[in-house]
Symmetry: C2
Subunit: 293 residues, 2 copies
């Protein structure tokens, strides 16, 4: 038998197979073009797998993840051209005729890190990715959190000292929310160059400041046991240690747990699975789709 | 049989009995004095109940709520004089010899609103109380959230426009966190009078601004299905409608759910049980203590 997984991202889709829910065998990656073309390529990949048993999908969003909704599996209000109101799960289910489980791309990456990575077996944690945008998957008491829709931690508000940083923010909805101040898009607009070409320590101090303010809010609202920080910007050398330092200072010892006073090195960590968190999570979802619900 | 509940607050303790887990029969209220004296009064109250079967306790915090911790039931880093490192559950358990269940005062109020109030049966919501301080109980996917310790939503950071509001904040740990800017203590310090004597509309606009910023963060991190806003300051006439208006504006339609775009009246609500949320929640905890775990 084979389990299939799709990491359905806004720029690339990755399709993956696993013979046993552990090992990951084969990955095919292609750019996210039109909805019809992209979904068709995924179908083509999995249609060639005769023993496909179930499929797990982690999708960019906002996406309807409530199984009982008539729009289950539909990408809704995305600003991505041509993708608004796209039913992703429907065509896959029809063409492949296997059980499908779906969650947001960031919840699926969180599931991967929970299953085999940096958040193994934890009850309550957040997986935060800082790239073009900022997103986050949340586990609460051992399960991915959905709630009204799903968490959108990138869009929380944090203090913005306009004397230190007059940049007005890049979020088309909120201006200077966390994503508007600290995403890769924000860095590029503020400093006139992409994050990977940014060497000014002041720029990275400011970045660490915003991320630490944002993460402190996650710590306090969720009582998170750990935070996994990934994504293209999140991987920048030296960033996580700077964020740890400011996070400890911002929390100021109020939460009297060693994780947040002395052991920040084990509290705020990069993803243990690197780029593969979402693939591992998608296979885990597939293995759950297979089981009786 | 009788179920007992204690609302163990920082200024008052309320003890309550219920014959059936529904009806609330008798309440005794006394001020929170020294730890020994206050706990002794609660023991005295319940020792006179011959058929007491179980006890539910909602305690001010920070309090150790992990049942497997050797410090379970101990109030830890409270700044309240004489209460630091006070074992609350130990003496009650020893004297009364009944099963005890414990949670934070705000989680217990959330349990009350979930059981019979404004959040009946919801999976994911927050109960936020704005009084002398700001606290919040959180339900995630149908259960009170604990995580590393328990949520401390009052201490999240929100934007603070020092031109509009030069007040530096009243929180001894964080200065201008949400509690430092919007609690009753902050209002008294900033305006020189208690909230109940504050009539200036500009003061209440500022209060609504901070609360809406803080609650928007809860909405985005938790994907909360509803927020219940209570407490002495939270009850101020006209405050909740102001907060609803600003909350809708701050979220700016990003979460495309009617609850957050058009139906805010049903989204941000006062506690349906008024002052009794915590008592109902404590009895609910007691009824769970009685059941096999």
């Amino acid at each position: 038998m084979s389990l299939g997984g799709i990491e359905a991202g806004g720029t690339h889709w990755n399709c993956v197979l696993s013979p046993d829910g552990e090992e990951i065998d084969r990955v095919e990656s292609f750019p996210t073009t039109t909805a019809a073309e992209t979904i068709a390529r995924a179908i083509e990949f999995f249609a060639g797998v005769p023993d496909l048993e179930a499929l797990g999908v982690g999708s960019f969003g906002p996406v309807e993840v409530r199984r009982d909704s008539p729009r289950w599996g539909t990408i809704t209000t995305t600003p991505k051209p041509g993708w608004r109101d796209t039913d992703v799960v429907g065509p896959l289910a029809e063409a492949l005729a296997v059980p499908i489980t779906l969650d947001t791309d960031v919840n699926v990456a969180a599931i991967g890190e929970w299953r085999r990575g940096a958040a193994r077996g934890l009850g309550t944690f957040a997986y935060v990715t800082v790239g073009t945008g900022i997103g986050g998957g949340v586990f609460a008491e051992g399960r991915p959190l959905h709630g009204l829709l799903h968490p959108e931690v990138g869009h929380i508000r944090v203090p913005h000292d306009r004397e230190r940083d007059p940049f007005e923010g890049s979020c088309p909805f909120h201006g200077d929310c966390l994503e508007g101040l600290a995403s890769g898009t924000a860095l590029r607009r503020r400093w006139g160059r992409p994050a990977e070409e940014l060497a000014d320590p002041a720029a990275w101090d400011l970045e660490a400041e915003y991320l630490a303010l944002g993460l402190s809010n996650l710590v306090l609202v969720l009582a998170a046991e750990r935070i996994v920080l990934g994504g293209g910007v999140g991987r920048a050398p030296g960033l996580i240690p700077r964020v740890r330092t400011r996070l400890r200072e911002i929390l100021a010892g109020y939460i009297d747990r060693p994780q947040l006073t002395t052991d920040l090195d084990a509290y705020l960590v990069p993803p243990a699975l690197g780029h593969r968190s979402g693939l591992v999570g998608a296979i885990e979802l597939a293995s759950r789709a297979r089981e009786p619900r």
